[in-house]
């Protein structure tokens, strides 16, 4: 192993910089001071005198650290010979000789010697030393109990563990084990030897976590760094929309544009295939909402009534109304038991399916043109309460939170995990807000056109990593949610695109509805894509049916 002998005088022992620890790791100990000149004689050619060797083009990877974590990874993979060879060839030992001795003593169960060696490692933090000693002595304690040497165990507890002054409640727990050793034996497996051996390596793992990383390289460090890099690559990948793509270490991960729906697969002119005509409303519809189980549909006439329909039979199951008032919006609770509706006196009401009114929130809760959403846990009701504000009403805790914007809000959309809200504004901006705790503005998306109509946007794609929106210039706009960059505009419609809906089950499918009276289904731009019908709650919104 060899290495530079450390000539640091004893007074400098407590101050260990990374430089000194590096020298320690090279197999020297503070207990062996050597005259200064010998340092030069024994200097290794690979190490520069003052600075540290670096690898990599950016000069941020310290060579010693790099080699040590590689050695650790080799040992973890089981390549003991390779690991040892690396240590020898590079002259950079994975652990200093003191630490090696320490580790061996732990595995062999030489507790008292290991505590002494622990002190020799030269840790600066006395608390760490004490905590580590505690762990070692605790192991000693349990093993003595295993061997049924209760008196020795008690002795250890009294004279060695307790004086450390660490974790007194645990000390009391340990003393209870002496009294009822059967408690201990319940947690043991029948084979004594294997238990002890296993738990000793477990102890070593615990100690590894406790001691500074420079002294004992943490388990799985190289793997952790590689995973970090892969995750960063994946997050930076703007078109990432497929689980199939496996990430390789050979090259940086980058999905191509072909992962985003960009080709119109189907164009529906008069309606997908007319199943039922639901007649009954006297006024144009202002909103439509599918039940969570997709079997029923709620429709709301503009300032009229709300009707409940059975989708398979086309029958109207119920009409919800309030005398003297008109309903303006409708929504379902996530468990399908209740329905909500906004009224034209700005209140919001909640009914059971059979029509029994359960609650009514009066006051400035909603506007005549406003979406109505319920979060996934059924607790929060979300609606536009003022021109520039959205109300988040916790109906159980009776707490109100507000999102305040500078511009008039036209519509909004809730993410699938109910943590984010996408807000469309009058001035052609789309804002993404985090609505957990205090609402925070996260991103803005721009580019689409809006001057007269309610244009809707939605979340979509794998893990809802994309934002899609309609636009008055007949294009469908798609942004990468994380970076805010516009990644696609889809031509094809010949009129304003009023709303879009991304298939929640298929990240490669998007639907759009337009003033040209067609619905377009968009998919991937290659012939091998299978055509699938969008699942029934793929299209959530209807901007008005005349």
């Amino acid at each position: 192993m060899g290495g530079v002998e450390d000539d640091e005088p004893a007074s400098k022992r407590m101050k260990l910089s990374s430089e000194e620890l590096r020298r320690l790791s090279n197999g020297s100990t503070i207990k062996e001071p050597v005259a200064g000149s010998s340092r030069d004689l024994m200097a290794r050619p690979l190490q520069s005198e003052g600075g540290e060797e670096v690898v990599g083009s950016k000069g941020v990877i310290k060579k010693v650290e790099f080699v040590r974590i590689i050695a650790k990874a080799l040992y973890s993979l089981g390549y003991i010979k390779s690991g040892a060879h690396l240590e020898e060839e590079s002259g950079i030992p994975l652990h200093s000789s003191v630490v090696n001795v320490f580790m061996r003593q732990i595995l062999e169960g030489n507790w008292d010697e290991s505590v002494v060696t622990l002190r020799n490692i030269g840790l600066t933090d006395e608390r760490t030393v004490k905590s580590a000693s505690f762990l070692i002595l605790e192991q000693k304690f349990f093993e003595l109990l295993d061997e049924e040497k209760a008196m020795d165990a008690l002795n250890t507890l009294r004279t060695e563990i307790a004086p450390l002054g660490v974790n007194d409640s645990r000390v009391r727990e340990l003393s209870s084990y002496i009294v009822s050793p059967s408690y201990c034996s319940l947690t043991r497996s029948p084979k004594q030897d294997t238990v002890r051996a296993r738990s000793r390596s477990k102890l070593l793992e615990e100690l590894q976590k406790l001691l500074p990383a420079t002294v004992m390289v943490p388990e799985g460090r190289l793997e952790h760094l590689v995973e970090q890099a892969l995750v960063l690559q994946r997050d930076a990948c703007m078109f990432h929309n497929s689980l199939d793509k496996e990430m390789s270490l050979y090259s940086d991960h980058q999905c191509g544009r072909d992962q985003i729906p960009s080709q119109a697969l189907q164009v529906y002119e008069t309606g997908v295939s007319l199943k039922h005509k639901l007649s009954g409303h006297q006024k144009p519809l202002s909103s439509v909402s599918w039940s969570p189980d997709d079997r029923q549909l709620l429709t709301c006439g503009a300032e009229e009534v709300v009707r409940l329909w059975d989708v398979s039979s086309g029958e109207c199951l119920h009409v919800y109304e309030k005398t003297g008032l008109g309903m303006v919006s409708c929504g379902w609770s996530p468990d399908g038991k209740w329905i909500f509706s906004g009224l034209n006196d700005k209140s919001i009401c909640m009914w059971e399916l059979d029509g029994k009114e359960l609650e009514c929130w009066k006051g400035q809760r909603t506007l005549k043109i406003s979406d109505l959403e319920i979060t996934g846990d059924g607790k929060q009701i979300i609606s536009i309460c003022r021109e520039t504000a959205i109300l988040l009403l916790d109906r159980e805790a009776k707490v109100e939170r507000f999102i305040e914007e500078d511009q008039t809000i036209t519509s909004f959309s809730l993410s699938r995990d109910s943590r984010f809200l996408l807000i469309n504004l009058l001035n052609q901006e789309i804002h993404l807000w985090n609505i957990e705790g205090d609402p925070k503005l996260v991103s803005k998306y721009r580019g689409h056109k809006r001057t007269r109509f309610i244009i809707r946007s939605c979340f979509g794609g794998l893990e809802q990593a994309f934002i899609a929106s309609g636009s008055e210039d007949s294009l469908v706009y798609i942004w990468h949610r994380g970076t805010g960059e516009l990644i696609e505009t889809l031509p094809g419609h010949s009129g304003a695109v009023n709303c879009v809906s991304w298939n929640p089950a298929n990240p490669h499918m998007l639907a759009s509805a337009s003033d040209d009276r067609t619905i377009r289904i968009w998919g991937l731009n290659n012939l091998s894509t299978k055509r699938k019908e969008p699942c029934s709650n793929g299209i959530h919104y209807c901007n008005g049916v005349y």
């Binding site: 043109i369 109509f453 309610i454």
Partner: protein, 138 residues
């Protein structure tokens, strides 16, 4: 057609005479002394439910201005204009404000009654004293 986004103003408001869409609040009224070819016009701080047309340079009685015609977002009727920029310092106060013409405007309360304004003359006249009021040749 898509669903037009309209804002509702509380209480009494000035509305489009043809489709009753809300346009402006009395609180935002700045001046009643404007004129256009068709008659009187009011200057407002703010107007809603309008779409803005193309910008153009127009010579008004009070000087050169950059204006854009504004239309009711529901029925498309032209209802007045918006001052984008004024070239003379004395006219700068108009920037960002809206003019709604009298004949296309009605004043209504929520109950739908139309209140006629009584301080209008039926004559159209151009004010030749630019310092007092603004005669705009629309």
């Amino acid at each position: 057609m898509g669903r037009i986004f309209v804002v509702e103003l509380d209480g009494r408001s000035y509305r489009c005479k043809f489709c009753r869409t809300h346009l402006a609040l009395p609180d935002d009224l700045v001046s009643r002394s404007f004129h256009c070819r068709r008659g009187k016009a009011y200057l407002f701080n703010n107007a809603v439910n309008i779409t803005v047309g193309a910008l153009e340079e127009r010579v008004m009685l009070s000087g050169m201005h950059t204006v854009a015609d504004i239309f009711c977002c529901c029925c498309g009727q032209i209802v007045g204009w918006k001052y984008e920029a004024a070239h003379e310092k004395s006219q700068k106060y108009k920037e960002g404000k809206f003019v709604l013409e009298r004949l296309v405007r009605s004043f209504a309360s929520d109950r739908g009654r139309i209140v006629d304004e009584i301080d209008f003359s039926s004559e159209v006249y151009i004010d030749t004293r630019p310092s007092m009021s603004d005669g705009e040749d629309a």
